[in-house]
Symmetry: C2
Subunit: 197 residues, 2 copies
DNA sequence: TAATTTACATACAGACTGTATGTACGTATT
DNA sequence: AATACGTACATACAGTCTGTATGTAAATTA
């Protein structure tokens, strides 16, 4: 039963990405040898280097997949009709929940910046999570609820702060406590950005 | 001229830390083989493993040194008599300047979390930069200028935000522009934390 | 001064990455 | 339909790096 090359490639690539995602997500980039990934995926390292060039290339593909999913989750919330401020708050909560997953922590929050470099990582983020936040903040500003501010810069700072909050919560001895505290801090910040008048 | 073992150890250790600091600071942890460090320091890898256990141990020592210096720079500013709010703003500016150095970027902001792990890194920070910020914020709160808030959590979020601002400025095509924008955002946040009345 | 510990250097083993080469199968050409 | 060609791998290999085990000279202690 002859498979087309396209099919072979696709199934191999996705098998590699899936295996890599699980392993990177639980043990981190540097603790997972390429051969373990390929063995899990049922191929040899030849396939990896053929499709992704090197180990970092595969990692990049994994990051992109995770980012796409994360963005989709948050976009769903933002798509639902709500006033800009409430929508933003809900979206941030959803994003924060997602960031609590070990997988996201390791891949997106810890390894990605150092493995890909900050520049490359930020560029990636721009097309996904950050892009979404910029859009949401722009909408909020345009509808007059946000104080006048450089939106893109604000978005990056907000995003990094939320990510740090997620890391704190995940690593805390008492996650609920820390979650409540970080939300208090973030809420205060958010209200400072709302135009009151 | 017989040197005491203490002297030998000290000079070897500091030579290693100095060499490692320069190399890690310019090229990053994973791109610097241990042997290049020891060669630069004028010893062999035996000395490194004797004194620091492994490569990560040496990196940790470098991080601690950088952190100590950073903390000292900021502490100097905070020591000067000033009202809490102004002092805090100045201290943050000084810290931000320090974070612009390539060395600090690579070692403290990029590599440290992923090489040492977030837990270990945060623990280190607690004794240095973060500790200082917590102290400053506590003072501000006690003197009544800060709104009531979980200071430690606030400090961590503020610190991470400032670090992100530093990374953005350092990587920007137009650093002055980004610096102005981040300061505007941070200033707005800060005023939201000041008790008005 | 003999015994012991410290501070290394040297030699070695193992792991991992990336590359070069070989091969089977799908795909285009005539 | 037969042949030529490119793609998708597997296998074999070379180089680099880390950590460890062992050896040795100098300092410290008994």
């Amino acid at each position: 039963m002859p498979r087309t090359q396209q099919e072979r490639s696709d199934s191999t690539r996705s098998a590699l990405v899936e295996a890599a995602r699980t392993l990177f997500g639980t043990r981190g980039y540097h603790d997972v040898p390429a051969e373990e990934i390929t063995r899990t995926a049922g191929v040899t390292r030849g396939a990896l280097y053929h499709h992704f060039g090197d180990k970092q290339g595969l990692f990049r593909a994994v990051v992109e997949e995770v980012e796409r999913e994360l963005t989709a989750e948050v976009a769903d919330v933002l798509a639902a009709p709500a006033d800009p401020v409430a929508g933003l708050a809900t979206a941030l909560a959803v994003f924060l929940d997602a960031c609590l997953r070990e997988e996201v922590q390791r891949i997106s929050l810890t390894d990605a910046p150092s493995v890909l470099g900050w520049e490359a990582w930020r560029e990636l983020e721009s097309e996904h999570g950050l892009g979404l936040l910029v859009q949401a903040l722009t909408d909020a500003r345009d509808s007059g609820v946000l104080v006048d501010m450089p939106v893109r810069t604000l978005a990056q700072l907000v995003l990094s702060t939320v990510m740090e909050a997620a890391r704190m919560i995940a690593g805390a001895a008492d996650p609920d406590q820390v979650r409540a505290e970080t939300q208090q801090v973030l809420a205060t910040w958010l209200t400072g950005l709302i135009r009151t008048g």
